[in-house]
């Protein structure tokens, strides 16, 4: 090698090192996926609450209480997976509570009223969830109606259908397999948490490291660019609503197992908690930037706050005040960060 090429190679190496192009770090994809999502806010909030509770109510960290938090967080976490996908693709689904209820009623009706085998009844529930999502997705993309209006209306339609069929009645007494999904434990860990965390891991891998996740971020971030690059924006937008519908149906089956009952007028507050968890977890409300891990933290934070309020001996109504305050503080932090970045 001549001195000249020696110099060149050393300059190239310096530049490569400067840009972080060498070693295993060069091959590692960004941990959270194609977009940078700020996770500091929910992490700091969780840390503050944890420290506060160590001082104020040490039994907050008792295994039983942590299990209760996990149980509360798991349903929000599960629904948050679907909602993260929808919001990242620049949408919003306000009908998840109704989809969850209608698919649970369909599952219960298939099992109890029509006497279908359990696995077929589960399939009926999941199919109804998927069809509800397809209904939303097609109205939004084909008729170009706003997501907000479509899903607000379909919330009424789906819940109305559930109430019409159930007639105000309650389905109860489900097979042990279903109650195990909602109440069971494996080595002390609640089943809903195991299901939610499993789906979180799978969804995160797709969302952050798969072609589908990358394109989903683009569909929400710059739909015009995505379309020009040959990505089916309509396909992805319909797809996320169908996915949300299926996730809501899974949530419905888990909730059915937990309550050992299906009530057509239930799951009313689940929407706000889910959207709050997604936004607190750093997903951008107007699309293009999202994180499943952030949603996990958001769900855990909301469940922790609710639990902490009870542990501190406040009336249950203060849960709403505390949760709302944390959401506002987190959003304020994100807005400040975004404003600084724009400046």
């Amino acid at each position: 090698m001549t001195p000249a090429t020696d110099n060149m190679s050393s300059a190239d190496e310096r530049r490569a090192a400067l840009l972080g192009e060498t070693g295993w770090r060069a091959r590692m994809p960004p941990l959270l996926g194609p977009t940078q999502v700020p996770l500091a806010a929910p992490l700091v909030m969780l840390a503050i609450i944890a420290v506060g509770m160590v001082l104020a109510a040490p039994n907050f960290f008792a295994v039983g209480n942590l299990r209760a938090i996990a149980l509360d967080a798991s349903l929000i976490m599960l629904l948050g997976i679907g909602m993260t996908a929808v919001i990242t693709a620049r949408g919003i689904d306000l009908s998840i509570g109704a989809i969850l209820t209608l698919s649970s009623v369909a599952f219960a009706a298939a099992l109890k009223d029509f006497g279908l085998p359990l696995w077929v009844s589960v399939l009926v529930g999941l199919t109804v969830g998927a069809l509800c999502g397809l209904f939303n997705g097609l109205l939004i993309t084909r008729l170009r109606m706003p997501d907000f209006i479509v899903t607000l209306s379909s919330e009424l339609v789906f819940r109305g259908l559930a109430l019409v069929y159930a007639g105000g009645g309650v389905f109860f007494g489900f097979p042990e397999v279903i109650t195990f999904l909602g109440r069971g434990r494996v080595i002390g860990v609640p089943m809903p948490l195991i299901i939610a965390l499993t789906l979180v891991v799978v969804a995160h891998c797709i969302f952050a490291y798969h072609r589908i996740g990358m394109r989903l971020h683009a569909v929400g971030g710059n739909p015009t660019a995505a379309k020009r690059l040959g990505i089916s924006v309509t396909g992805y937008r319909v797809g996320v609503y169908v996915f949300m519908g299926i996730i809501a149906a899974i949530g419905g089956i888990i909730l059915t197992g937990r309550l050992d009952a299906v009530v057509a007028s239930g799951a009313v507050t689940i929407l706000l908690n889910t959207v709050a968890a997604v936004i607190v977890g750093g997903t951008h409300l107007f699309g293009g930037r999202g994180s499943i891990i952030g949603t996990l933290l958001g769900a855990w934070l909301l469940a922790t706050i609710t639990n902490a309020v009870v542990m501190l001996g406040f009336e249950a109504f203060w849960q709403h005040v505390a949760a709302g305050a944390v959401i506002l503080i987190t959003i304020a932090l994100y807005s400040r960060r975004n404003t600084r970045a724009e400046e």
């Binding site: 530049r15 060069a26 490291y209 990358m214 971020h217 690059l229 990505i231």
Partner: protein, 241 residues
């Protein structure tokens, strides 16, 4: 090796956007497309990029006739377009933007990030500009770096012809010079460039030939070395010299 447009026409309802347009772009040359607002430049470029189908006429790329039904079809034929808005996703890194729609994956569709990043950095470094980290989100880049990122995307997959729509608009003077130098570099590498611009100075700086449209018709095609600024302006404004 060339792109040959023959008898291209396109109407929107009763309005004839372009009519009977003939244009040839050889590999390795830069052809500027000039014209007043409404002259038909955008329509012509969209047709060549596969974003709009012509009502009449043919497009030949390297001797083969095509009728593009989508941008992907045009890209597969070797024609890529760099839009004025650059079509970047600001929250995504340069790596992700460059490979969006043509990701390098394993057989299960999972991204081969290391390979994508290495290739993206090589392409960006190959341009005669100060290298920047391709992991940076596009929204955090300067105007010139954003333009380079978008150019990198158009050249990453072996495009033989590139359409540039106002590539120097909204750039600082130094970034403009960088981008124009890149355009010339690409042509020297054998890529045929069609550059739509309002800036006559930039066109004169990098283009070998210039095609001037007037009210949807081809007013004239001139070699840059054989024409004058006055003649070009007359063709733009009046449709004749």
């Amino acid at each position: 090796m060339s792109v040959v447009l023959s008898g291209i026409a396109k109407s929107y309802g009763a309005v004839k956007a372009i009519e009977d347009i003939d244009l040839t772009v050889e590999a390795g040359e830069v052809v500027g497309v000039l014209g007043d607002n409404g002259a038909g430049k955008s329509t012509l470029m969209k047709i060549l990029a596969g974003a709009t189908a012509p009502d009449a006429g043919t497009i030949m790329v390297d001797g083969e006739t095509y009728s593009f039904t989508s941008s992907s079809a045009a890209r597969d034929a070797g024609i890529a377009m760099l839009y004025q808005d650059l079509a970047l996703c600001d929250d995504m890194s340069v790596v992700h933007n460059i490979f969006l729609g043509r990701e390098i994956t394993n057989r299960f569709g999972f991204l081969r990030y290391g390979a994508m990043r290495k290739r993206a950095q090589e392409i960006v470094n190959s341009f005669s500009v100060r290298p920047f980290d391709v992991r940076t989100p596009s929204g955090h880049l300067s105007g010139g770096q954003r333009q380079v990122s978008a150019l990198a995307r158009t050249t990453a997959f072996g495009s033989r012809y590139i359409i540039l729509d106002e590539p120097t608009s909204a750039l600082s003077p130094s970034a403009r010079d960088e981008v124009l130098a890149i355009v010339r570099d690409l042509a020297d590498q054998g890529i045929g460039i069609i550059m739509v611009s309002h800036d006559l100075g930039h066109v004169r700086k990098v283009c070998d030939r210039v095609a001037i449209l007037h009210l949807g018709r081809m007013a004239g095609i001139r070699n840059m070395a054989d024409t004058t600024q006055d003649e070009i302006i007359s063709l733009i404004v009046q449709g004749h010299a």
